[in-house]
Every structure is written in structure tokens, then in C-alpha cells.
Symmetry: C2
Subunit: 208 residues, 2 copies
DNA sequence: TTCGTTTCTTAATCTACATTAATGCGCAGG
DNA sequence: CCTGCGCATTAATGTAGATTAAGAAACGAA
């Protein structure tokens, strides 16, 4: 079932970032062609790191096939996963992409993946030729802020189990695809704790 | 010492949001006058709530005098402070201000305060007349994203004591002004835990 | 001032999650 | 086909911070 989905995506009709512009007719055919000229396709092997902490990156990645993640490594050497990006998601370190600040994040591939790379220059170009798209971009930033805000509130107020529930709603396609220890890392708990969480709740369900 | 600071701010030369436009000469005198026409000044009494969860607000507030905060109340009735806004800070629920989403946050005043109110319409106006300011706004959003991102990483990886250290760096002027229990709420711990934290570390310092 | 309320602190107990460690499984490479 | 290593699970023990409770200090309103 998940496999057939993967196969579909492996064709040339994989999702593209341009899909979000087309339906609204925000860009002329000529402009779309221009965008095409700036977008490049990149294949990334499982485990390849495409951004490292401290680097100044200028690119964002739209995931066509596969799955990427962004994460930090703290002083004690511990990984903390910031987000996952399965098919259709965009991943980048916004602050290093839009300004010249060194990145706090690493980004790598959890599976063999294919992405559309768009450079800072493309963002600038596209925002210059279309005010609507410029506004769309701003709106995306605002939505991102709302998401981060909710995550903070969640980290402050919710138990590990509640956060796990929320994770499964946010990333239904991820749960079976990535190692448990990474889900634990995203939730801010240890793999052992997640394992316990899951088994305890399975038991609860069986009782009812 | 803090008092004299307060007195200075009580005069008409209090900081204004326009200060951030003037030095860059981004707006003509006429345009500044136009902005003036849209900005209103609001006095808020300690304890007054100017935004409630579920409301659709269209305003942001630049703090001239005093201190505001934004916070949520979770299912169990517990408050979680999201940010403080002393003099010079802007506070709002960005997602409700820029879209029509109902707010997740409450905003109220921790002291008698004076703010500059700017409506969504002003943001639109100002961004329409000045592309530079439009870009400045976008950059502010990006910086905000970076701040939220760091806070998430901090909540996932740092101990309560480390978070307290970071809080004091971020809000040096706040520590003596707001109740401890609110600082605890911002840090995501109980007032009792914060009290212990502080006394334990004082002892540590004395040992050395 | 005085009284009532809120806030801060200290201390005892409790709990969610971390740490450590041992076991078994699945899978990639020789 | 083994062999080894990363991963998941389980269990024992440890600990940061929550909860509960109670007393002291600070604060606001009459």
C-alpha cells in the first residue's frame, strides 16, 4: 500500500513546487519557464547531509520523493529532530536561507530522495515578478510561525503521550517509515520512553 | 534606578514604532504623517486583557511604557506565558493579525502601560507604499521564526536552569519587574521549582 | 493603619521520564 | 550462509521537577 504510493511518485509526475502556482494562474507561461530555469533537481542518497550547522546555506528544498529531516546536535552530542519532510513538504533553515546567519540545523536524507532545489535568488526573482506570490510567501512564514508557536505550547504543557498523539496527526505517513528513535528525538524523549509509552497504551486499548 | 528609567519613558519622547523607519529615511515626511494618522495611542491598566483566546484580532501593539505579556491557558486551566513585551517590543498574535484565524493567545498588561496600536490596515498600507518596509516586515517574521526555533530546541535540550540563564539574557529588564511565578510559567516549570533553582545556585556561587 | 489576598519560600512526597544495562531481532556485507 | 551491528524492547534504578502543604513576607484596598 505504501509501496504503490512510492511507485507513483517515482514517475515524472512527482509533485512540484510549481503546482502551488499553477492553479491560481499567478504566473504566465513565460514566467513559469523562467522559474523552471532556476529550479534544479537533486538526488540525495539516504544518509547524505546537505546542510551542516554553522554553514551559510542559500537553498530550500521541496521534497518530490523520499524523506528528509532537520535537526540540531546539542553540547552533549545529542540529536534533536526539528522537523521531518516527506513528499510535498519544503525543508530549509529559513533564517540562513533568507539572511546570512549561520545555520543552527543539519539537514539530511532518511531515505533515497529527490528534491527540487530553489536558491535564494529564485525566491527574490519570483517575489519581484509577482506581488501575489510575494504575499503567499509571507503567508507561509506566518503559518510557520503559528506552527512553531503551537509546538512550543505543546512542549510546555503536554505530556509525552499527548505529543506522540499530535505527532501522528501531523505526520501520519512518517510513523511507519522512520526509526522509532527518531520519533523519540522529535518528541524530546528517549527511545526507551517512547517504547514504554507505546506498549502501555496498547495494553490500555486492549482492556476496553 | 529602574524608576528613573520609567520616568523618562513617561514623557512624550517615549520610543515609537516610527523610530525604526526614520533613520533609514524609508518614508517621506508626508508618508510619515499618513502613518501618524493610522497609529493610535492606547493606555492599558495593569491586568486589562486586550486579546482573548478565540477572538480574531487585527492589531499589533508597540510598547512605549510598561510591560505586556501573551499567554495561553491549557485544558487543565494552567497558564503558559509565551512572551513578555517590555518597552520597545512589539506584541501581537501574528497569525490572527495577518489572517483571520482565531487567536490561541491572551494578551494583557503586567503594569499600567502605554502602547501604539497599529491595525492590519496600517501594515497593508505601509507595505504597499514602501517595498523596503515590506521587506523589513518579512525579515522580522524570519527573525521571529529563528527565535521560536531556538526556543523549541531549548525546551527540548536544556535543563530548567539553563533556560533560566537564557531568559535572563533575553529579558534583563524583566527579572526584577514581574512576579517569579510568571517567569516560572515562561520557563515551563512551577514557581516552587524556580525558587529552588535560584536558591540552589546562589549557594553554589557562595561556595566558589 | 489593618485585614485579606496573593506571592515566595522551604520541605516532604510522588511521578514521569532519563539512565544504564541486558536481551533478542532484523538486516547488510563478507 | 554466517556474522556483526544498529535498533527495539524490557527491566532496575536514578533524578529533575511536580504536587501538596504550610508558614512568612509583600501588597492592595478600605
Amino acid at each position: 500500500m505504501e509501496n504503490s504510493l512510492l511507485h507513483n511518485n517515482a514517475h515524472s509526475n512527482s509533485p512540484s513546487i510549481k503546482d502551488s502556482y499553477r492553479p491560481l494562474q499567478l504566473l504566465s507561461a513565460q514566467q513559469l519557464a523562467l522559474v523552471d530555469a532556476f529550479i534544479t533537481i537533486k538526488n540525495i542518497k539516504k544518509g547524505d547531509i546537505i546542510l551542516r550547522k554553522g554553514e551559510v546555506a542559500t537553498k530550500a528544498y521541496f521534497v518530490r520523493i523520499g524523506c528528509l529531516r532537520s535537526y540540531t546536535i546539542d553540547d552533549k552530542g545529542k540529536e534533536h529532530i526539528f522537523m521531518f519532510a516527506p513528499e510535498g513538504w519544503i525543508i530549509s533553515d529559513i533564517s540562513t536561507q533568507m539572511t546570512d546567519a549561520p545555520s543552527d540545523l543539519f539537514i539530511d536524507a532518511l531515505e533515497d530522495s529527490q528534491v527540487e532545489v530553489f536558491d535564494r535568488r529564485l525566491s527574490e526573482l519570483i517575489r519581484a515578478i509577482s506581488p501575489q506570490i510575494n504575499n503567499m510567501t509571507t503567508e507561509k512564514f506566518i503559518k510557520r510561525i503559528a506552527v512553531l508557536q503551537k509546538r512550543i505550547i505543546m512542549l510546555m504543557s503536554a505530556t509525552a503521550w499527548e505529543r506522540y498523539q499530535h505527532f501522528m496527526e501531523t505526520y501520519p505517513s512518517i510513523v511507519q517509515r522512520v526509526p522509532q528513535r527518531m520519533i523519540a528525538s522529535y518528541l524530546g524523549i528517549t527511545p526507551e520512553a517512547l517504547s514504554k509509552l507505546r506498549s502501555d497504551n496498547t495494553k490500555l486499548k486492549q482492556k476496553k
